[in-house]
Symmetry: C2
Subunit: 236 residues, 2 copies
DNA sequence: TAGATTGTTAATCGATTAACAATC
DNA sequence: TAGATTGTTAATCGATTAACAATC
């Protein structure tokens, strides 16, 4: 009987697909027309079989002996990740991190367009940052409801993060990109992705400590090839 | 004979320890003196056994029926991750992201202190951002050699990232915190941690797409509890 | 004491890696 | 044809989860 459910791609695969996308863009700029998993793997120091498996998730069919068309692979990855049609987003918290995101040109090519920012600081309200207007936080719920904005970006201080998330949910948002070091409570059906800079720093500092400690002992080991192997994802 | 090597904690554990640290800081501020793994797990929606396993890596010994002293647990996590003695860092690329990091107060409590920034833009050189001076990139190698700065932060455009990494290595740096969407080549013994914002966004957008697609089908499923479970790490 | 929690070992689960046939 | 690569299945590896004794 017919229940051969396709397993949804795990998050690590999604993260790596984003890396492949970036590599492919560079290869395309260099005039490359086809590419093999072996080649992509070399660029990122990944196992070619792993690259294959990840690409399999997009459903694209390649040519034995040749590989994939760079252009076509870029397109299927974009479709797969939902980067093909741009989604509109509201950003809350026009501090330095919020400002950096508002100025991050690449977001558009990743399917995200920040169309307004919100803040509670009267000094900031009414100003324009990187071409995006800063509105009072009170307008968030109503505006997102009316404009059907589904994605919210949280770049506020810790204490306010949950409150802002609640407002986003109240406004009908369905995805929250959270840059505050806080675990947000949201109802079922709302997606949260945390960008935890402290977690990234934890990996960096521990591995540095380990490398220095090893060296002191005069040992040599595998600390060298130090790229975070799997879960480099989700970073920034 | 006696080779009972302790397995080094995997990166996912390091990432979660950073999350526990943040939770513990909040609990401490709330006046809490002891805490159990169950409690920490509730805060983050993690399995308590997993929390236990992670905390085990720090070597702390708890009390059955009680848990751990919040204060002591904070200290051992900081020691374990290498956050106890502040490390000095140089940042290269004084754009909006670099500026945001320079203004990120919390870094100091995560054991990192950015003591100088570097850029090639004459407009920026000589200025001071969040109390940190911006120096010409030419000075990077010599200064890091002389000051024994071991950590470099890369917040430059893609094309320059590898060049900057090379300079950091030339300056004797041993750890690179890379915010550019590029896979850096560095010699053995140099640690690289990538913060890939695109990877985080890939997870967010794919899961949003899935949630919306499911809803259209009128199905209900487990999409709801949407916190990225394991590899939330490596992010901003 | 009773029972929640630690500490630890075993079972499960899932991702990575290896193996290999099919193919261009 | 020869051989590199895709596509796919099986084996391995490692992390998560379950089970349970020890303990406060």
């Amino acid at each position: 009987m017919g229940g051969n459910m396709v397993q949804p791609a795990p998050n690590v695969t999604l993260r790596r697909l984003a890396l492949y996308h970036s590599v492919l863009q560079r290869l395309q700029k260099d005039g490359r027309e086809v590419v093999s998993c072996t080649r992509i793997g070399e660029e990122l120091r990944f196992d070619p079989t792993q690259v294959r498996k990840d690409i399999e998730a997009t459903g694209i069919v390649g040519k034995a002996r040749i590989g994939y068309e760079v252009k076509a692979l870029l397109v299927v990855i974009e479709e797969f990740l939902g980067w093909n049609n741009t989604r509109e987003a509201f950003l809350v918290g026009a501090g330095s991190l919020g400002t950096a995101l508002l100025g991050y040109e690449r977001l558009k090519s990743l399917g995200l367009s920040i169309i307004a920012a919100f803040d509670t600081n009267p000094q900031k309200i009414g100003s324009t940052i990187h071409g995006v207007e800063v509105l009072p936080l009170e307008k968030l719920v109503d505006l997102s409801r009316r404009m059907l904005v589904l994605v919210g970006i949280i770049t506020v201080p810790d204490e306010s993060a949950q409150t802002v998330a609640d407002l986003m949910v109240a406004g009908g948002m369905r995805a929250v990109w959270n840059f505050a070091p806080v675990s947000l409570a949201v109802p079922d059906g709302v997606v949260v992705e945390d960008v935890q800079i402290a977690s990234s720093l934890a990996v960096l500092s521990k591995r540095l400590s380990r490398a220095l400690a090893l060296e002191k002992k005069g040992e040599d080991s595998d600390v060298g090839n130090a790229h975070a192997p799997a879960a480099r994802g989700q970073k920034f």
